[in-house]
């Protein structure tokens, strides 16, 4: 897969320049590292701040979700590489409106170390920080080791729910609690058809034959649970739903939201073909689907493939999910 870029070394900086140039009403660069994006208009004084961050190459994750009812700031690293802890500390400082800051991000070793370190750094600024980790990828570890799972598209729901709680004026503990509740109620699984190319590497991250797919693959190309011939859409969707529902059963009267997500190159046409099965399975189990999301919400640049994310709702989560939000990539209400 070819890429449109100038030099790999400038990829992320130029990408961020273009992003803030296109949407000055939503985003601004904060500080002088060029790797921290904050809301164009800072949140209300006294609002709990929410930061996220991680490697580049996943738009709209992470940076795209900086906006009202969502994140306050983000630190962005090179493609698939953690930002530095100083950049994360800067994002925390940008997000702080005096009520403390929730660090809400995906469970990747480097990001965890750096966000922890960033917390140590902002202790000097007297900013209170909490942490909620997304670990929603059911293919990445057994249920007994849930805390080892990778964080993938489930982040989108967590950003939305925590962001709504913060916007509603809840305090840091309350926002943290509801973010954790969302993180506990979300499950994802992905399947990849092709690799993306990290600009610095210049070649596909992994090789996969023209007639193969991999089930359970991670968004950086982490190995999945099987690799085999490409299957029909309904079989792929069926197995992905099996895996999600085995991990988090959904039954009569349950209310769930579902995200059918393209990892990048896979076009919406194919997502709709898959969504038929997702809907039939959930409604067949007696559940109601609330605010389904179908599109590109968490990607690996031009990787072909999809992920499904299931969020089981209670009244509180549903209210927060439906609350307004606004950024260049997603708007509710």
């Amino acid at each position: 897969m070819k890429k449109i870029l100038n030099t790999p070394a400038d990829y992320v900086d130029e990408m961020l320049d273009g992003l803030v140039a296109a949407y000055p009403e939503f985003y601004r660069l904060h500080g002088d590292s060029h790797r921290v994006v904050a809301r164009a208009q800072a949140g209300r004084a006294g609002k709990v701040g929410i930061v996220s961050g991680g490697g580049s190459g996943h738009l709209p994750i992470f940076t795209g979700y900086v906006g009202t009812g969502l994140l306050d700031a983000c630190a962005i690293g090179d493609v698939f590489a953690s930002p530095s802890s100083e950049q994360m500390a800067d994002a925390i400082r940008a997000a702080d409106q005096g009520a403390g800051v929730l660090r809400l991000y995906g469970n990747y070793g480097g990001d965890v170390m750096n966000f922890d370190m960033a917390g140590d750094l902002v202790e000097f600024d007297d900013i209170r920080c909490t942490t909620v980790l997304l670990a929603d990828d059911v293919a990445s570890a057994a249920p007994e080791e849930r805390e080892k799972r990778r964080g993938v598209a489930g982040m989108v729901y967590a950003f939305k729910i925590a962001g709504a709680a913060a916007e509603a004026g809840q305090d840091l503990d309350a926002v943290t609690r509801v973010a954790q509740k969302a993180a506990d109620a979300v499950r994802s699984v992905g399947a990849a058809l092709s690799s993306c190319t990290v600009p610095q590497a210049g070649r596909p991250t992994f090789d996969i034959a023209e007639d193969e797919m991999e089930m359970g693959m991670g968004i950086h190309g982490e190995p999945g649970v099987w690799r085999n011939k490409l299957r029909p859409a309904d079989a792929i969707a069926g197995e992905m739903m099996d895996r999600l529902l085995a991990d988090m059963p959904v039954g009569q009267g349950d209310r769930v939201s579902v995200l059918v997500n393209s990892l990048g190159a896979t076009p919406p046409e194919e997502l709709y073909i898959l969504y038929r099965v997702v809907k039939a399975r959930l409604e067949g189990a007696g559940a109601s689907i609330v605010m389904p999301l179908v599109g590109r919400y968490a990607t690996s640049m031009e990787m072909a493939g999809v992920s499904f994310t299931l969020l089981k709702l209670d009244e509180e989560l549903e209210g927060l999910l439906r609350a307004p939000c606004d950024c260049a990539f997603w708007r509710v209400g």
Partner: protein, 202 residues
């Protein structure tokens, strides 16, 4: 006795060594991961060197600055762990303008523990922690500077080989656990090069 002058000397040697070793470290890291280990160390040490002129005599403050150079320039695991270790040592010697060779073992152990807390990895998992652990143990009870230096170097070198056949258990390399079984751990090898440079044997 380790003081500001000794620190500045070590910084100079380490920065030069990392620049020299960068390609080799990138390559070994690239076999199982993202191939940035040499870059991480080179960039970090360049930033440390830039702060050398105003390096405080208080070794705690000085080492904190060194740590910050790494937190600024790198988001890679090794950079953050290295900064974490430096911060632990900084904390331990805060307010002092020198320390003795006999304290080195304890300081290495402090770094090891802080880095373990940061990275949440087990000892024995074929990581830089195992190098530090071996070094702390080998230098325990020693007080002659040359002996301490020699013991640390030997321990670091032996640890790399002792863990060679083990599978990687943390970080990106864990994905390639089987492949990693014949390979030296990049972070352990880097620590060997670091000790060699710091102790003036590289």
């Amino acid at each position: 006795m380790i003081d500001r002058a000794a620190l500045l000397g070590a910084i100079g040697r380490l920065a030069a060594a990392m620049e020299r070793e960068a390609p080799a470290l990138n390559e070994i890291d690239g076999a199982l991961g993202d191939g940035d280990l040499g870059i991480t160390m080179t960039r970090g040490m360049q930033a440390v060197q830039q702060g050398m002129a105003e390096m405080p005599a208080d070794l705690g403050q000085a080492l904190l600055r060194c740590a910050q150079a790494f937190t600024k320039t790198s988001g890679s695991s090794y950079g953050t762990l290295f900064a974490t270790g430096l911060m632990a040592v900084a904390k331990a010697v805060k307010g002092r303008e020198s320390f003795e060779a006999s304290e080195v073992s304890g300081l290495i152990a402090a770094a090891r523990d802080a880095m373990q807390a940061r990275g949440k990895a087990e000892l024995g998992g074929k990581t830089v922690l195992d190098s530090l652990d071996a070094m702390a143990k080998a230098t325990a009870g020693l007080s002659d500077p040359a002996e301490v230096a020699c013991a640390a170097r030997e321990a670091a070198r032996e640890a790399v080989e002792a863990f060679r056949e083990r599978p990687a258990t943390v970080g990106r390399a864990r994905i390639f656990a089987e492949k990693s079984r014949t390979m030296r751990d990049p972070g352990m090898l880097a620590m060997t090069r670091i000790v060699e440079a710091v102790t003036g044997e590289a």
